[in-house]
C-alpha cells in the first residue's frame, strides 16, 4: 500500500480524498448512496470518461488536445448526414462511422503537428476554432432532431425497480465506456506501442535515438483521442436525443481538468487509466454532492479550480523534495 503512494502519489491521494468524499456524502445526505443516484451518475459521466481516456493517451505522449469536444460535435453532425444519406443504419455502422470520422479529425491534428513541427497546444487551439467555425457555418447553429430511431432509442443494460416503485437503469453508454476504458488500458499497458508512447512523452530525444517512430506516435495518440471523441459523440446523442452544434463546446476543459487531477502529467510520460477514472469520479461526485447539498453551482467551479492547484502544487512540492535528496545521494 505505501508503495502505491510512492509510485503513483497523485492517484493514491486522490483515491483517499474520494473515499472520504463518498463516506461523507453517504452519511451527510440520504440521497447520495441510492441506486437511482449512482446509476444516474454513471449514465451522466460515461461520455466524459470515454473522452478522458482518449485525452489521456495524448497527454502521456507529451501532447495536449483542446479540439476533441468540438471534434465530437463535428462527428455527430457529419454522422447524422451520413445516416440520413444511407437511410438509417444501425449501431454497428454507427460505431464504425463515428470512430472513423473521429480518427480522421485526430489525424488532422497529428498531421499538422508533425508536418509543421508546432507544439500541440497551438495546433489544437487552431483546429478547435476551425472545427467550430465550420460546424456553425454549415449548420447555421441549428439543431438536428430527425435522427434515425436506433440512435435515439434508449437501450438499457441494467434495470431495477426499487421498493418505492422508482426505476434505476444503466444506459448502453456505460457499457461502451467500459469497453473504451479497457481498450485504452490494454493499449497503454499491454502493447509495445503503449511503452513507446510513455517513453516518447518522457524523453522524446531518447525515444528517437531508440528508434521510436515519432510520426507513428503522433498518429496513435491523436488518432486514439479522435476515435474516443467520435465514439463519445455518438453516445452523447443517444443520451441527449438530439444534435446541438454547440452543446459540447467547453466540455474539453472539464475533461482536461479531470484527467490532470487524476495524475496525468502535462508534458508527458505519466498518467494512468485508474487515475483517469478517479479524476472523472472526483469531478462528478463533487458536483453531484454540491447539488444534493443544495450549494450554488458556482462553488463547483471554484472547488475544481482549487483542487487542480492543490494537486499540481503538491505533486511538484514532493518532486522538489525528491530531487534535492537525489542530489545528496548522487554527490
Amino acid at each position: 500500500m505505501p508503495d502505491i503512494f510512492r509510485t503513483h502519489p497523485v492517484e493514491a491521494r486522490l483515491a483517499v480524498v474520494l473515499l472520504l468524499l463518498i463516506v461523507g456524502l453517504s452519511l451527510g445526505t440520504d440521497t447520495f448512496m441510492t441506486m437511482g443516484n449512482i446509476t444516474s451518475l454513471l449514465n451522466n459521466n460515461a461520455v466524459n470518461l470515454i473522452w478522458a481516456v482518449g485525452l489521456l493517451v495524448v497527454l502521456i505522449a507529451g501532447g495536449i488536445d483542446i479540439s476533441f469536444a468540438v471534434a465530437a460535435s463535428v462527428v455527430q453532425y457529419v454522422a447524422a448526414q451520413i445516416f440520413m444519406g444511407i437511410g438509417g443504419g444501425n449501431w454497428a455502422i454507427g460505431f464504425v462511422v463515428a470512430g472513423a470520422l473521429g480518427i480522421c479529425l485526430g489525424l488532422v491534428n497529428a498531421l499538422l503537428i508533425h508536418g509543421f513541427r508546432v507544439i500541440s497546444i497551438v495546433i489544437t487551439i487552431a483546429t478547435f476554432n476551425a472545427f467550430f467555425g465550420l460546424l456553425m457555418f454549415f449548420t447555421h447553429g441549428r439543431n438536428i432532431y430527425n435522427l434515425p430511431d436506433w440512435w435515439t432509442d434508449r437501450i438499457f443494460i441494467f434495470e431495477r425497480q426499487a421498493a418505492d416503485g422508482t426505476w434505476s437503469e444503466l444506459n448502453l453508454s456505460v457499457a461502451v465506456m467500459i469497453v473504451c476504458v479497457l481498450a485504452t488500458w490494454g493499449l497503454i499497458r499491454l502493447t509495445t506501442l503503449g511503452h513507446q508512447l510513455y517513453a516518447f512523452g518522457d524523453n522524446p530525444e531518447g525515444a528517437r535515438r531508440a528508434g521510436v517512430n515519432i510520426w507513428q506516435m503522433q498518429i496513435v495518440a491523436f488518432g486514439w483521442c479522435g476515435m474516443m471523441a467520435g465514439i463519445g459523440g455518438l453516445m452523447q446523442v443517444n443520451i441527449a436525443q438530439e444534435v446541438v452544434p454547440n452543446a459540447l463546446y467547453g466540455r474539453e476543459l472539464d475533461v482536461l481538468a479531470a484527467v490532470v487531477l487524476g495524475g496525468a502529467r502535462l508534458g508527458g510520460g505519466r498518467g494512468t487509466v485508474v487515475g483517469c477514472i478517479l479524476g472523472v469520479m472526483f469531478v462528478a461526485i463533487t458536483q453531484n454532492g454540491l447539488n444534493l447539498l443544495g450549494i450554488s453551482p458556482f462553488a463547483f467551479q471554484m472547488i475544481i479550480g482549487a483542487t487542480i492547484l492543490l494537486a499540481i502544487s503538491s505533486s511538484n512540492l514532493s518532486f522538489g523534495r525528491r530531487s534535492r535528496s537525489e542530489k545528496a545521494g548522487a554527490a
Partner: protein, 501 residues
C-alpha cells in the same frame, strides 16, 4: 559479403564525413574496431566522438561517400532499430533514459521498439531484466522510478539496457564522467567482463589514465579529422594528450604559500545533520584550496551550505571578516560567491537558448547601456572573451547550447559563472567530461583568477587535479576534514593511497 564474418572486424568505417550547417563535425574519418576488443575513442571536446557514434547507430546520416561495414556486412543505410538488430548497443553521454518510467521498463525499452506493434506483458521481460542485472552483479529494485535513482545507478541502468539485446558491439560515451573512483573501477570490471565474452567495446573518456588502463587500442580524433590509431601498450598520458591537442601539456605542482594573505572565507565548526560535522577551514585571497573526498564524504553538501542552498545546523561562516548566513543562492551571488555545480548538464544551462544568452544570463546588469537596455555589442564582447579564454568549440555564438558537444556545454557553464567576477569561487568537479587541453585551459584561468586575488575552493575526486592546481589540499571523509597536505610535501601515489584506502 566482402569478408569472412568470423575474422572480420566488428566495425569498419571508411571516409565518414558529417557537416552540420557550417560545422564540419567529421571529415573523411576511417575507424575500425576488432571483434571483442576494447577500443578507445579519444579527442578534445567537439572533435566529433559522439557524432561518430550517432552515425554508426543510425541517429545521423553521414554525408555521401561513407562506407560502413558491420561484422563483414557492408551497409547502405542504418537506423536505430536496424543497428540494434545487428548487435550494436549504445550508452549515450546524456544516457537518454526515461525518468518517469521504472527501472525495468527502461532496461527493457528497446525491445518495445520494432516494426510491428505487439502485445507485451511486464512479467515476460522482468525475468530477463533481472538476469542482466545479475550478470552485472548489481542489486536494483526493478520497480523504482528511474528519476528517483542517483546518477551512478542510472548509469548502471543504461548499461543493463545495452546488454538486453544480444549486443556484440557496445559504445559507451563517457560512461565514467559522473562516476566516482570506486564506481568507475566496478564499471571498468564490467567492461573487461564484456570483452572477455567476445563483445567489442568502444569507450569514450576524457580521463586518460582510464583510457590507457582499459583499452587495447586508441583512435585519436582532432577537429573532426583522424590523427591515428595507436596501441595503448607503452603509451603515456602526456603522449596521448599531445596527440589529442597537438601541443605538449605538462603537469607540475603549482602550489604557492598564501598563508600571509587576508582570509576571504572562514568557517568554524560547521555542522549539518547527517551531512558534515565540525568542519573548519580558511581560504585566503589568491588561494586555491583543494578539497578532495569520495562520494558521500560530504564535500558537495558542504558546498551547498556555503552557497545558501541548505542551512547549517551549527557553526559559523565568515565572509571577509563578517559573519554571514545566506538566505538563498541569490543572496550568496550578490555577496560575491559563485558556485559551479556538479551536475551542470541538468541544472546549469537553458538548452534551447543561444550560447551567447546563456553566457551572460548571470551578468545581465553588465551588458546594459545607459538606458538600461541590452547592449548587443557589450554582450558580444563579453561572450567572445570567454569563448576564447576557455577555448569553447562553437559554430556561432547565436547557436543553441543544445547543439554543443557535452564537454563544450560544460565550458559554457563555467564561462557563465566566471563572468560574474566573484570573490569566492566554488568549483565542484569542474572538469567532469572536459578534455585534457581544456582542463589545462580551465586551470590556467583558475590560477590567473587566484593571482588576481580571488579565493577558490576546488572540489574534486581526482588526486592529480588537486595536486597540480591547489595551494593546499584538505581531505574530507565521512563528513569531517581528516587531513591537510602541502602538494610540495606529498606525491600523487601517496595521496591516492590515503584517499582510496
Amino acid at each position: 559479403m566482402t569478408t569472412d564474418p568470423d575474422t572480420a572486424p566488428a566495425l569498419r568505417l571508411r571516409n565518414v564525413s558529417k557537416t552540420f550547417g557550417g560545422v564540419k563535425a567529421l571529415q573523411n574519418v576511417d575507424f575500425e574496431v576488432r571483434a571483442g576488443e576494447v577500443h578507445c575513442l579519444a579527442g578534445e571536446n567537439g572533435c566529433g566522438k559522439s557524432t561518430l557514434i550517432k552515425i554508426v547507430t543510425g541517429v545521423y546520416t553521414p554525408d555521401p561517400g561513407a562506407e560502413i561495414e558491420l561484422f563483414g556486412h557492408p551497409l547502405d543505410t542504418i537506423s536505430p532499430t536496424k543497428a540494434r538488430a545487428l548487435g550494436i548497443a549504445v550508452i549515450w553521454q546524456d544516457l537518454a533514459l526515461f525518468p518517469h518510467m521504472t527501472v525495468a521498463e527502461n532496461i527493457a525499452f528497446d525491445d518495445m521498439v520494432g516494426v510491428m506493434p505487439r502485445v507485451s506483458f511486464g512479467s515476460r521481460y522482468k525475468a530477463r531484466v533481472q538476469a542482466v542485472l545479475d550478470r552485472l552483479n548489481v542489486p536494483l529494485d526493478l520497480n523504482t522510478r528511474l528519476g528517483d535513482l542517483p546518477i551512478a545507478q542510472r548509469q548502471i541502468v543504461a548499461i543493463a539496457r545495452a546488454l538486453m539485446g544480444e549486443a556484440r558491439l557496445v559504445f559507451m560515451d563517457e560512461p565514467t564522467a559522473s562516476l566516482t573512483q570506486s564506481e568507475t573501477d566496478s564499471l571498468l570490471d564490467v567492461v573487461r567482463t564484456l570483452s572477455s565474452q567476445g563483445i567489442a567495446v568502444v569507450f569514450v573518456s576524457h580521463r586518460l589514465a582510464e583510457v590507457i588502463d582499459i583499452a587495447e587500442r586508441v583512435t585519436v580524433l582532432r577537429d573532426g579529422k583522424l590523427v591515428g590509431v595507436y596501441p595503448t601498450e607503452g603509451m603515456t598520458q602526456s603522449r596521448l594528450g599531445e596527440l589529442m591537442t597537438g601541443a605538449l601539456l605538462e603537469n607540475s605542482v603549482s602550489a604557492q604559500d598564501r598563508s600571509s594573505a587576508e582570509p576571504v572565507l572562514v568557517i568554524k565548526d560547521l555542522s549539518r545533520h547527517d551531512e558534515f560535522r565540525g568542519v573548519s577551514l580558511t581560504i585566503r585571497r589568491g588561494e586555491v584550496l583543494g578539497l578532495i573526498g569520495l562520494i558521500g564524504s560530504g564535500r558537495t553538501e558542504l558546498a551547498h551550505a556555503l552557497i545558501g542552498m541548505s542551512r547549517p545546523d551549527a557553526g559559523e561562516i565568515q565572509l571577509e571578516g563578517a559573519p554571514v548566513r545566506f538566505a538563498s543562492i541569490r543572496d550568496a551571488i550578490a555577496r560575491g560567491v559563485a558556485y559551479v555545480s556538479e551536475d551542470r548538464l541538468t541544472l546549469g544551462l537553458i538548452q534551447p537558448q543561444s550560447i551567447a544568452d546563456n553566457t551572460v544570463i548571470s551578468v545581465l546588469d553588465r551588458v546594459l547601456d545607459g538606458l538600461g537596455l541590452m547592449a548587443p555589442k557589450r554582450q558580444s564582447q563579453l561572450v567572445s572573451h570567454w569563448i576564447e579564454e576557455l577555448a569553447v568549440k562553437i559554430g556561432q555564438p547565436e547557436d543553441a547550447v543544445s547543439t554543443l558537444s557535452g564537454g563544450n556545454q560544460q565550458k559554457v557553464v563555467l564561462a557563465k559563472w566566471l563572468a560574474t567576477e566573484p570573490r569566492l569561487l566554488i568549483l565542484d568537479s569542474p572538469t567532469v567530461g572536459v578534455d585534457v587541453g581544456a582542463r589545462a585551459g580551465i586551470f590556467r584561468i583558475v590560477r590567473q583568477l587566484a593571482d588576481e586575488g580571488l579565493a577558490i575552493l576546488l572540489i574534486s575526486d581526482e588526486v592529480t587535479e588537486v595536486m597540480f592546481n591547489a595551494d593546499r589540499v584538505l581531505h574530507m571523509a565521512e563528513g569531517r576534514i581528516v587531513g591537510e597536505y602541502d602538494p610540495h610535501a606529498t606525491s600523487v601515489p601517496d595521496l591516492e593511497a590515503r584517499i582510496y584506502a
